[in-house]
């Protein structure tokens, strides 16, 4: 447990060095970006001083990191606003979108996978549909959904994130479906494979030979054991959904941190890019550790690593 926590912190630390260092090493002089091309040398000078651009790397990194730990991620070049407040303004939409999409994956992917594994006839169809589903990138799904359900049928709004919870949910339905589609298919396939594999295990034959009812076998031996690989897949899914919002928010003109990252990248707004990247990476790392812990809870074989 302690080693895992230490590993988490180490990973985050290295990741923060990479994120900060990468942009530090970027070609071009950030002060020119800030002041524009026509700035006088003196303006540049004062900007360099204001942003501590002449300090050595480790000092600037340390200042940035200690700020980040306190929640101060610096100020955006382009918005002239603190990165923290920019993020907190938009995180709600992004979180809701991810939660919505994850719920769809949980219900759709996992259930379809289990049904597909236990009912061979449905299974073949699910495999075929999900093979295609995996191959559809979210932004392609987005334009198809917009074309059909927003433009042709007019059932859903085309763009924007709406006001009030229900209206937001309404606005986020197409984005969530587009975001979840490929992951749904992926989770369905892997769940199906995991459940199928477990159903062939010898201990399932043992239970069957003892006359245990089929429903209990599925619950106690097949699905219970398949939860271990399924959990791992769901962890990857969350990470994938988080990365996917960057694209999908752009497709539907949503005001989330994903579209903010794209704008910041286009305009080379370093503080903003660094802040959002750090946030996303933190989410990934935490999700990974969460999956590890959940797996340890589900699989006694992983628990015996305890020191004597």
């Amino acid at each position: 447990m302690l080693t895992r926590l230490a590993g988490l912190l180490l990973t985050l630390l290295v990741a923060s060095v990479v994120i900060y260092g990468a942009l530090y090493l970027a070609p071009g002089d950030p002060s020119t970006l800030l002041a524009g091309n026509k700035a006088t040398p003196r303006t540049l000078e004062s900007i360099r001083e204001q942003w501590h651009l002449d300090d050595p790397f480790y000092e600037r990194y340390w200042a940035w990191l200690s700020g980040a730990v306190r929640g101060d991620l610096g100020e955006s070049f382009t918005y002239k606003q603190s990165v923290g407040s920019l993020i907190s303004d938009r995180i709600g939409t992004t979180t809701l979108l991810i939660a919505y999409a994850f719920a769809l994956v949980l219900v759709g992917g996992v259930l379809l996978g289990i049904v597909g594994a236990l009912r061979p006839r449905a299974g073949a169809g699910i495999t075929a549909v999900s093979s295609v589903g995996i191959a559809v990138p979210s932004y392609v799904a987005a334009i198809v959904l917009i074309t059909v359900f927003a433009v042709e049928l007019g059932w859903f709004p085309v763009f924007g994130d709406g006001t009030g919870f229900l209206d937001r949910l309404w606005h986020l339905t197409l984005p969530a479906i587009a975001l979840a589609l490929a992951w749904n298919a992926y989770v369905a396939q892997l769940t199906k494979a995991a459940v199928h594999e477990e159903s062939l295990r010898d201990h399932v034959a043992t239970a069957r030979s003892r006359g245990v009812a089929e429903g209990a076998i599925v619950r106690r031996h097949i699905v219970r054991n398949a939860l271990i690989p399924i959990t791992t897949v769901l962890g990857i899914t969350i990470a994938g959904l988080v990365a996917g919002t960057v694209v999908i928010e752009q497709s539907f003109n949503l005001n989330g941190i994903g579209s903010l990252l794209v704008q910041a990248t286009s305009s080379k707004d370093f503080a903003l890019v660094q802040g959002i990247s750090l946030l996303l990476v933190t989410i990934f790392v935490v999700v990974n550790v969460g999956v590890d812990l959940l797996n340890a809870a589900l699989d006694p074989r992983l628990r015996t690593e305890r020191r004597p």
């Binding site: 990138p137 932004y139 334009i143 074309t147 433009v151 694209v247 370093f270 890019v273």
Partner: protein, 286 residues
């Protein structure tokens, strides 16, 4: 294949499912589609009916016709020609990513699997850290650093995909390494390099092929996503992700063709590579 089987054939335990080889129409279909895509990219100038960049405002948003089989986009460029030409950039990027990530990943996998111990622990730690960056985010960070285009994202994705390939191949290599035939090679006096190159790697190639095929699909999705976001290939170059984005405005006017056809090109390509990987897995399943 009936009749050709020698009577002496022995089915070793666990290998009962091995004999899936022979005809596999789905596999053949994937190979044909992929070959066609590659040819399309190579011969684009010869087979495209129009100049992909020639716009004709008067012929904007036309439906399909004899001269424009897939119609024209919002500035009147021939969609089919742009898709054919777009195959070049759209396939080149993923191909570079796959080659770089596979070579690197396999090398890391072999070294860590062979050496084990501390080398393995350190390498695994480094890979864990790389796992913290999903490919797309890493690529966006690279774009923020070096600017838009294909170079920075390709390098970034190669680095981001490497740990995935390394992890899968490493676990296969560790399983393979534990087989007694590897020790038999050691007892024979072979050098580790020779064992890895002559015995371990050839036996791992099926796994490598599967990983490469899967990675190609993901790399295509990620790279065209970057172009879609405006961070990758820049207009007016034809690239499928870029074309999806360029055509999106026209959807609202009821002209989704430009986006949809480009999107379809991506889906077909990714599907072909995914199914290829899937069939390869089945063939090598033991």
């Amino acid at each position: 294949m009936s009749g050709a089987l020698p009577i002496e054939r022995v089915i070793p335990p666990g290998a009962a499912r091995r004999r899936l080889r022979g005809r596999d129409p789905l596999l053949a279909g994937c190979v044909v589609v992929i070959a066609a895509l590659v040819l399309m990219a190579l011969l684009a100038p010869l087979i495209a009916p129009h100049d992909p960049d020639a716009s004709d405002i008067l012929a904007a948003n036309e439906g399909s016709s004899l001269s424009h089989p897939l119609g024209t986009d919002s500035v009147g460029r021939d969609i089919l020609s742009r898709i054919i030409h777009g195959a070049r950039l759209s396939l080149l990027g993923p191909a570079l990513v796959v080659v770089a990530a596979t070579v690197g990943g396999v090398a890391v996998a072999l070294v860590t699997a062979w050496r084990g111990g501390r080398v393995d622990t350190v390498a695994s730690r480094v890979l864990d850290i790389l796992f913290a960056f999903p490919g797309l985010i890493f690529a966006i960070l690279a774009v923020a650093m070096f600017g838009t285009g294909l170079v920075a994202p390709v390098i970034a994705l190669s680095i981001a995909y490497l740990p995935y390939i390394a992890r899968v191949i490493r676990s296969a290599a560790i399983r393979e390494r534990a087989l007694p035939y590897v020790e038999a090679c050691q007892v024979a006096g072979m050098s580790p390099l020779r064992i890895c190159w002559r015995h371990l790697l050839p036996n791992l190639l099926p796994y490598v092929a599967v990983q490469a095929a899967v990675s190609f699909g993901y790399a295509l999705v990620d790279l065209s996503a970057l172009s879609y976001l405006g961070l990758g290939v820049q207009p007016p170059s034809a690239e499928w992700g870029r074309m999806v984005a360029d055509g999106q405005a026209a959807i609202l006017n009821g002209n989704p063709e430009a986006s949809l056809y480009a999107g379809m090109a991506i889906v077909v390509t990714v599907l072909a590579f995914n199914l290829l990987a899937d069939r390869l897995v089945r063939r090598t399943a033991q």
